[in-house]
């Protein structure tokens, strides 16, 4: 710890925002060859980049995913109604998947030979739901103090922490999200006490003995940032900076200036002591790490958008975003997603202007809309939250087909997480992350019947042996119950 701070102190140089922008522009093409999550070893990396990028043999994936898809069987779900996740709908279709991948959606025939047949009559089939905002694992249940691992609230800039180092893979919440919610992938974020909360991690919703065993292979890292009330309250109440929204911005900007300087040195090939805090931020400036920004108010989102331009990075998604409807045109123009609740409001001042039509208004304006949970209960009903948002939009006269609304639950979050090429829809070749619902999935009366992850059957309402029970619940009252 002390060593890190020494490193920061030696880097306390001033560089102009303009210079930072130029640095980024110049270096971007080279940086693109080294996406975060790349499986390259550090040796290979230093060979590739040679002396040009850095003398530091930087392993960008030191806690690599050990997730392995469980074995599945070639499966044909027949006579089923399908939302493909990208806005397509198929009636009386057969969905084929094998070897962990979607093969095709067939509207012509039944189950071919060699496939296990699942009768989908009266049922719906969709891509698995992806929750872009979860704290399962880092705020697990039971919510005892000893489990409170989501906010490193010891300083407003804590980009050096990585959420995966807090994830407890025995959180019972993962099983509920799977069995009741049909969630197949999720992003675990640090909390919002800090301006820079740390790195997020994207998980497959499959239990493992280690957090690495749950990590979505090759998923890029995200950086959690937070606007507004939380950081200024946490630090202001300690008589520290930031205590105001302008303080938030000043600390943000000063931090980006430090990050730009760190990146410039690395790119130049200077020898520097690695600084985990600035390393993550440099990853953002290099376009390798996406920014996941907690922000409620429209005016604050607009300020963040300008800050991102000032320092040459891009915001992937505004989280919570209860006022996105006020600037949906701006968000569309900037290509920024909004991850939203259907109807949370009024719990704090910056949520005062929430409206039930937020998601539909954002969608209707042509901007990217995502339904998120931020909640171990809400994650079990994201389809219901989408249904409420959809109904609110329709009451305003917006024509949003059901199958298009499903993009809010899988394709849009997958894209915002940088995994949209691998999951989030039923395009052939994508991961067979699939939910079979026992009815119309926007009905309150509907529940998951089966959930496959990478083509492996991980939940089956008809089969108690396909219901995961975390270590915590083993041997306790209620073990293995329907929940």
């Amino acid at each position: 710890m002390k060593r890190l701070w020494v490193a920061v102190a030696t880097l306390a140089l001033i560089t102009t925002p303009g210079a930072a922008k130029r640095d980024r522009d110049r270096d971007e093409p080279e940086e693109k060859s080294e996406k975060a999550g790349d499986k390259d070893t550090s040796d290979e990396k230093s060979e590739k980049s040679g002396s040009k990028a850095s003398k530091l043999a930087l392993n960008k994936d030191p806690y690599p995913s050990t997730y392995k898809a469980f074995p599945g069987r070639p499966t044909a779900v027949t006579n089923v109604t399908v939302f493909d996740g990208e806005g397509g709908k198929f009636e009386r279709a057969t969905v084929l998947f094998r070897d962990g991948k979607v093969e095709k959606i067939d509207t012509g025939g039944g189950a071919p030979d060699g496939y296990d047949k699942v009768d989908g009559t009266g049922k719906w089939l969709t891509p698995g739901i992806i929750d872009i905002h979860s704290h399962l694992g880092n705020y697990p249940t039971p919510g005892v103090d000893a489990h409170s691992d989501g906010n490193e609230a010891t300083g407003p800039v804590r980009s050096e922490v990585w959420a995966e180092h807090s994830v407890w893979p025995q959180d019972p919440g993962f099983s509920r999200a799977l069995a009741n919610g049909g969630v197949t992938a999720l992003q675990i974020l640090p909390g919002s006490a800090n301006l820079f909360g740390g790195r997020s991690v994207t998980l497959k919703n499959v239990y493992a003995r280690t957090a690495q065993g749950m990590k979505f292979p090759g998923a890029p890292y995200g950086l959690k940032m937070a606007c507004g009330e939380n950081p200024k309250r946490v630090y202001g109440s300690r008589n520290q900076m930031p205590a105001t929204r302008m303080g938030n911005m000043a600390v943000n900007r000063q931090t980006w200036i430090r990050a730009a300087d760190y990146k410039r040195k690395i790119d130049k090939g200077d020898t520097v002591l690695r600084d985990l805090q600035l390393e993550t931020l440099a990853g953002v400036l290099a376009g390798e790490i996406s920014v996941q920004n907690h922000c409620y108010r429209a005016d604050e989102m607009a300020v963040v958008i300008d800050m991102a331009k000032e320092f040459g990075y891009k915001v992937s998604t505004f989280h919570h975003a209860v006022e996105s409807y006020k600037i949906a045109d701006l968000l569309k123009a900037e290509g920024i997603c909004s991850a939203m609740w259907a109807d949370w409001y009024g719990f704090k001042m910056e949520s005062y202007d929430a409206v039930e039509e937020n998601i539909a208004l954002v969608h209707n304006a042509g901007a990217c809309a995502i339904v998120h949970s931020d909640d171990a209960n809400g994650i079990q009903r994201l389809n219901q939250e989408a249904a409420k948002a959809l109904a609110a939009g329709r009451r305003m006269g917006f024509i949003v087909p059901d199958e298009v609304a499903w993009t809010w639950l899988s394709h849009n979050p997958a894209k915002a997480l940088g995994i949209g090429d691998r999951t989030g829809s039923l395009k052939p070749g994508k991961m067979a992350d699939i939910v079979l619902w026992n009815g119309y999935p926007f009905s309150v009366y509907t529940r998951p019947d089966k959930v496959w992850v990478d083509g492996a059957l991980m939940f089956d309402a008809q089969d108690r042996t396909r219901r995961p029970v975390s270590d915590f619940e083993l041997g306790q009252p209620g073990e293995g119950d329907v929940k």
């Binding site: 719990f347 079990q380 409420k388 309150v444």
Partner: protein, 481 residues
């Protein structure tokens, strides 16, 4: 569920919103005790035209929000699919008759008195207004804004004597939002602060008028389980000792005895007199099976106590014993996580299993966005129906589920003769829905409270209209309304 967590940490995540209220100071208590004329006024029958002078500008503001005069009305709602709300099956082509603010008849073949205004509800559902079974609705405008939050009073020297009625504020957003959603009544409870007793709760309506309280001092609230143990000094044995001591001091108060070394202040002891003699219900918030058994034992020890169990997340494990006791339960519907060690065995099947065992169980918002999301009652009830299609799970039939958010909580609180169903004599709280009221896409089309048709707008509907197109027009948004 994160009370413990948040008492340590300023923000855990955005769910910290739920506990911000609990961390707040006691500023609101001053407002509730310093205005006795307000207390009296809230208990009288609706008479909004009276005492304008005393109410000053507040009445004027409410009057502006009130589209219809707050006078009891008479109406016949015809042709709809009528749900009585008492657990009986819906009636196609039914009629609901309200005369002078009360239901006089509902069902098929109902005679409509001559001259009654008629509203056609053909193709619609007609039901009693939804009752938020256990809530803090009306006590907080914005949870985390302390001056607008009267749910608890951490720095008050009082506890059992705290009475929420004069604090219930019909001007705050959650009231209008609940009304727009079809929630017409709520059981409103204080939170326990620095003592196990939280004070006296009320039944309220969500009408657009200045008289929200329909029954003040309806019940006393006490916190048991983990939260009670903490407030009692750190353990459950300490909690039970404190509870017994309180009952003892209340009994002494009946006899007019107030000791100098008593733990309860005089008004707190007095407030517990109707509890010890059984004329006021005692809502006990308790979650774990062991703690529920302890409550059942207390009932045997103090048979006069008129207990309602609130929470009861592990109630299914002691369902037969609860049923035998006859004690009603207002439970959380959707809890299924081991959020704390008193909820290890939680499951969404809790309510269904208790119902099957014969427990009088209904649905409440127990520590679940209880200041503002009363409208989740319909969604939760719908989920109880969904469970009937999940192998191994227990849920409710549609009729049972609807009763669990209307007559169920009303009966648990002893006001089933006044609200919660369309049986004759109940208040004229009626909603016309554009579909199955438990479905997610359904909305309330018309709402009556005490026979008065209600405006269905809120700050949210105004904001939505202003930003239907986000771009600014000829003038800034501030000019669009």
């Amino acid at each position: 569920m994160r009370a413990l967590l948040n008492s340590i940490l300023p923000i855990s995540l955005e769910m910290g919103r739920r506990t911000a209220a609990r961390r707040r100071g006691g500023g609101g208590a001053d407002a509730t005790v310093s205005c006795p004329s307000t207390i009296r006024r809230l208990r009288v029958e609706r008479s909004p035209s009276q005492s304008h002078a005393r109410w000053g500008g507040w009445v004027a503001v409410v009057a502006l929000l009130t589209a219809t005069p707050a006078l009891a009305q008479s109406v016949a709602i015809t042709g709809g699919k009528v749900v009585i709300g008492d657990g009986t099956a819906p009636i196609e082509g039914g009629t609901v008759v309200i005369v002078n603010g009360r239901v006089t008849a509902a069902g098929r073949g109902v005679a409509i008195p001559a001259g009654l205004p008629r509203v056609d509800a053909a193709g619609k559902w007609v039901t009693p207004g939804i009752v938020a079974g256990f809530s803090r609705l009306g006590l907080a405008g914005v949870d985390a804004v302390d001056p607008s939050n009267d749910t608890s009073a951490a720095n008050s020297p009082f506890n059992a004597a705290i009475d929420v009625a004069p604090a219930v504020n019909p001007d705050i957003q959650p009231i209008a939002i609940s009304r727009v959603a079809g929630v017409t009544r709520a059981i409103v409870s204080p939170s326990a602060s620095n003592a196990i007793f939280g004070g006296m709760g009320a039944a309220i309506d969500t009408g657009a008028d200045a008289n929200p309280v329909s029954t003040a001092r309806l019940f006393q609230f006490v916190q048991f389980g983990e939260g009670g143990a903490r407030r009692a000094g750190g353990s459950r044995p300490a909690l039970y000792a404190m509870f017994r001591n309180a009952l003892t001091e209340a009994r002494e108060a009946v006899a007019g005895v107030y000791r100098d070394n008593a733990m309860l202040r005089r008004v707190d002891a007095q407030a517990l007199i109707p509890v010890v003699n059984g004329t006021m219900r005692l809502a006990i918030h308790v979650e774990g099976a062991t703690d529920i058994r302890a409550v059942l034992a207390l009932k045997r020890e103090f048979p006069a106590l008129n207990i309602v169990l609130v929470g009861a997340t592990e109630g299914w494990r002691v369902a037969n014993e609860i049923a035998a006791s006859g004690i009603p339960v207002i439970a959380s519907a959707m809890k299924d996580l081991p959020a704390s060690f008193e909820q290890i065995a939680s499951t969404q099947s809790n309510i269904g299993r208790m119902k099957a065992a014969g427990v009088k169980v209904s649905i409440g918002m127990v520590d679940d966005d209880d200041t503002r999301q009363a409208q989740y009652a319909m969604q939760y009830a719908g989920n109880m129906v969904a469970l009937t299609r999940v192998p191994g799970a227990s849920g409710l039939t549609w009729d049972q589920a609807f009763a669990a958010i209307t007559s169920g909580p009303a009966e648990a609180m002893g006001i089933g003769g006044d609200i919660g169903s369309l049986r004759a004599g109940r208040r004229g709280d009626v909603v016309i829905w554009d579909g199955d009221p438990l479905e997610l896409a359904t909305s309330a089309e018309k709402v009556w409270i005490d026979g008065v048709q209600q405006p269905l707008s809120s700050r949210q509907t105004r904001l939505r209209q202003r930003y239907a197109k986000p771009e600014e027009g000829a003038l800034p948004k501030a000019y669009e309304r």
